[in-house]
């Protein structure tokens, strides 16, 4: 049996959708759904949820690289079989949760986790007022439009900030996210700290290929600033229809390359990383807010991106020192004022942090209220 290429439509099944979630609930979850009373984080990385039935579930949260192998998932399954009745779950932020139904089962699980790799292959943490896993995109391992790598940058940043993953020493939770280009598959635009791959060179035009691979009107329409225009060029003695780019109008968003493979943008010197900070999703205390660009460019320096790692660390630790309990990074920056934020974090302020795109005026200061910082000479 199996697929028969001679008769591709014979016996085909489609539109099944995902399996029903209930068959994957651990017994203690199934028995107590909708009955949970409260939770406590008994130590970093370990949540205890108490049910009105008296049941408890202990969830041990473990950091995961997201880019993982079949062998890794099988190892995770072995752990879940040994300790968790053969069930587990993944979180939105790419952590794994191993769940057990009594407190005395927690330590044996932790002991097992500690036996792998050098003891931190399954790092326990990612809860409370700490740093949880960095959600991220594909980068150079799979994507055709990235301006930086994803998994490598995340590994480098998490190595440096590892202690914050397994502890509760920050004023509030800090959500770091990475997207490897402006398409933002990682939706980093509402993160406490966002690491964003950016391009800085306009697209090249591959006139020799454009006729075969590109619908010119779509390429022209793809540019939000009208920088892509129709033109005629000569290729091997023949005049063909192509496009040109008004470079002064290009904001390097890369949307033209998404629509037209004959307009590649990526470049070793042109590409790098921007840092945006102060976004949040939760409605807690203050309303959701976007991340703001504070560092417009850091170079791509594989394999460990030291400039990016140090920038993220400096921002995180300056926030940790200055913010009040419960205060998210963006709320702290707004309270002290962005001029103070740049000063405290030792980030040079440039015109690149001043918005000149749509709705830019909303971000300009139209008040006499400001603080005197080193920026005022």
């Amino acid at each position: 049996m199996g697929y028969n290429p001679e008769k591709p439509m014979e016996g085909r099944i489609s539109d099944l959708g995902p399996p029903h979630y209930e068959q994957f609930h651990p017994p203690v979850i199934k028995a107590n759904k909708g009955k949970w009373l409260y939770h406590e984080i008994i130590q970093p990385g370990i949540l205890m949820h108490k049910s009105e039935t008296g049941d408890e579930v202990y969830s041990v949260r473990v950091g995961c690289a997201r880019l993982v192998s079949v062998e890794y998932i099988r190892e995770v399954c072995e752990i879940a079989d040994k300790h968790c009745d053969g069930f587990l779950r993944f979180t939105t932020r790419n952590n794994i949760e191993f769940m057990v139904d009594s407190k005395d089962k927690v330590q044996p699980l932790l002991d097992t986790l500690a036996t792998y790799g050098n003891g931190t292959k399954y790092p326990v943490g990612g809860t409370g007022a700490g740093l949880t896993n960095i959600v991220h995109t594909q980068g150079w391992v799979h994507c055709h439009t990235p301006a930086t790598d994803a998994s490598g940058v995340v590994k480098a940043v998490m190595d440096e900030l590892f202690d914050y993953f397994g502890s509760h020493t920050l004023p509030a939770q800090v959500r770091v996210a990475l997207a490897c280009c402006l398409n933002m598959c990682g939706a980093v635009h509402a993160s406490d700290i966002a690491i964003l791959g950016v391009h800085r060179k306009p697209p090249m035009i591959d006139h020799k290929r454009i006729t075969g691979v590109c619908e010119l009107p779509l390429a022209i329409a793809s540019c939000p600033l009208g920088a892509v225009k129709p033109t005629k060029v000569e290729v091997e003695g023949k005049e063909i229809k192509s496009v040109k780019v008004t470079v002064e109008r290009c904001m390097f968003c890369g949307n033209c390359y998404t629509m037209c493979p004959a307009m590649p943008m990526a470049d070793p010197e042109g590409d790098g990383i921007a840092i945006l900070v102060g976004g949040k999703v939760s409605n807690r205390i203050s309303q959701p807010k976007f991340s703001k660009m504070v560092i417009p460019f850091l170079p791509n320096t594989p394999p460990r991106w030291p400039e990016t790692v140090q920038a993220v660390k400096k921002i995180l630790e300056t926030y940790a020192e200055g913010a009040n309990k419960y205060e998210r990074l963006g709320d702290w920056a707004e309270r002290i004022g962005w001029e103070k934020f740049f000063e405290k974090c030792d980030i040079p302020f440039t015109e690149k942090s001043i918005d000149d795109y749509r709705l830019a005026y909303d971000t300009w200061r139209t008040s006499t209220q400001f603080k005197y910082t080193s920026h005022i000479k």
Binding site: W36, F87, R89, G139
Partner: protein, 426 residues
């Protein structure tokens, strides 16, 4: 496929965080094409640029989504990743798994693919990373026939919906996120698999305003749990928090000495609407002033709980910055019951009203949030047959440029200039 020298990637095998490089190397022992994944990635680390070609349309018969085509631009050097297509497998709601299920899927992927995965992709699917075109149909056959599972969405269609774990393991969830997510995912299989939209469309379901799946930032229809009646207070438990017997915020700040818990400073003074106070040692809340931000409940989960009359706020139009800038979803329905009893009829009607309009009027690659900006919120509200209410805005407009309609103005727009001039010399 031969092993390649990877001096740059090897440097990512040190340090405490789990190493994807070590993992890929281990997988390469049984799946030699993984050496070529490392090889091409090492080349990118050296060249500081991607080595994947643009696009490539591949898929399984009958579907227009679920598989992302990918080819190496240096196939001679790395034949094992010449084709490196991604398969998106729809994840179960809440991302709980049995090990049996995962093992079965891993066996299929070992057979048909590279052996590398993402748990999970940004939208929520299981990502199976890298296979050849000729493996797609055999994989899909086995996935559907042997496992009863299916692909997720990609392209201009409904993307695989996602939810927070909701009632399954959270005391704050105001509706059954996993049930509605599963129900709508099954209900809209056609929309997930066959692109018919102007652009992508996402639903996300969060059980409370903490919004753990980032619905308000990432989904075209954001369904975020809320309640209508009063926050439930257990005064005895409040006293336990004040006495320091229960850990504030569930113990989230345990790693640092912030001093003893201070109810006034940490809860009452941080309430954004200042609707809480103490009478003696009783905590009081004026629920008519409360905007349900969750802070007090987050800080004292044993003392405070969402009310009993639960449902969700529906917001529309979030997206990442491409192209006109990032948007959060805009509140359109302050409170909707999310009930399985009527198969979520009210929510489905709401969604389809958006689609009916957007599929007609949306431009190519225009997210519905951008359509809303283009036609304006007042028009969009009319299209959605909603009454305008102040909850839809942060503040009233500060310019006077109202698009008055002729029928709204006494006497209409049709006037006679000669009659006007008879009374007003030019």
């Amino acid at each position: 496929m031969a092993k390649h020298e990877t001096p740059l990637l090897d440097q990512l095998e040190t340090g405490p965080w789990p190493s994807f490089v070590t993992d890929i190397k281990k997988q390469a022992e049984t799946k030699p094409e993984c050496w070529d994944i490392l090889g091409i990635l090492e080349l990118s680390y050296k060249d500081r640029i991607t080595h994947w070609k643009h696009g490539g349309i591949v898929g399984v018969f009958g579907y227009g989504g679920g598989i992302v085509g990918r080819y190496a631009d240096v196939p001679e050097q790395f034949p094992g990743v010449e084709h490196f297509h991604t398969i998106r497998v729809a994840q179960p709601a809440s991302k709980y798994y049995s090990t049996d299920n995962l093992r079965q899927l891993m066996a299929l992927w070992e057979k048909h693919g590279s052996g590398m995965t993402n748990f999970h992709g940004s939208t929520g699917d299981i990502i199976l990373l890298g296979t050849r075109t000729e493996n797609l149909e055999p994989f899909f056959w086995d996935l559907t026939h042997d496992m009863g599972q299916d692909l997720g969405g990609s392209g201009s269609n409904l993307r695989t919906p996602a939810n927070c774990l909701g009632l399954s393991r959270c005391e704050w969830s105001c509706y059954d996120t996993e049930e509605v997510c599963h129900h709508l995912t099954i209900h809209y299989q056609d929309e997930i698999h066959r692109p018919a939209f102007p652009y992508k469309f996402k639903f996300k379901f969060s059980g409370c305003p903490n919004d753990c799946v980032a619905a308000i930032a990432r989904s075209d229809v954001s369904v975020i749990g809320t309640w209508k009646d009063e926050i439930k207070i257990d005064q005895a438990a409040v006293k336990e928090y004040v006495a320091g017997n229960y850990p504030a915020n569930g113990g989230a700040h345990s790693g640092r000495d912030w001093g003893p818990f201070d109810l006034q400073k940490e809860v009452i003074d941080l309430c954004p609407t200042e609707c809480m106070w103490l009478e003696g040692d009783e905590l009081k809340i004026d629920d008519t002033e409360c905007t349900r931000c969750m802070h007090c409940i987050n800080v004292m989960p044993r003392a405070l709980r969402p009310g009993d009359e639960k449902g969700a706020t529906i917001l529309v139009g979030a997206k990442a910055p491409i192209l006109d800038g990032a948007q959060f979803s805009t509140l359109l329905v302050p409170f909707m019951k999310i009930e399985k009893e009527n198969d979520f009829e009210e929510l489905i009607d709401f969604i389809e009203k958006i689609w009916d309009y957007w599929m007609e009027e949306g431009k190519n690659r225009e997210r519905v949030g951008e359509t809303m900006q283009r036609v304006g919120l007042p028009n969009f509200i009319k299209i959605m047959e909603l009454e305008p209410i102040p909850q839809m805005i942060k503040e009233p407009r500060s310019n006077p440029y109202v698009f008055w309609k002729e029928e709204e103005v006494e006497g209409g727009f049709d006037r006679d200039i000669d009659e006007f001039r008879a009374r007003h010399q030019a």
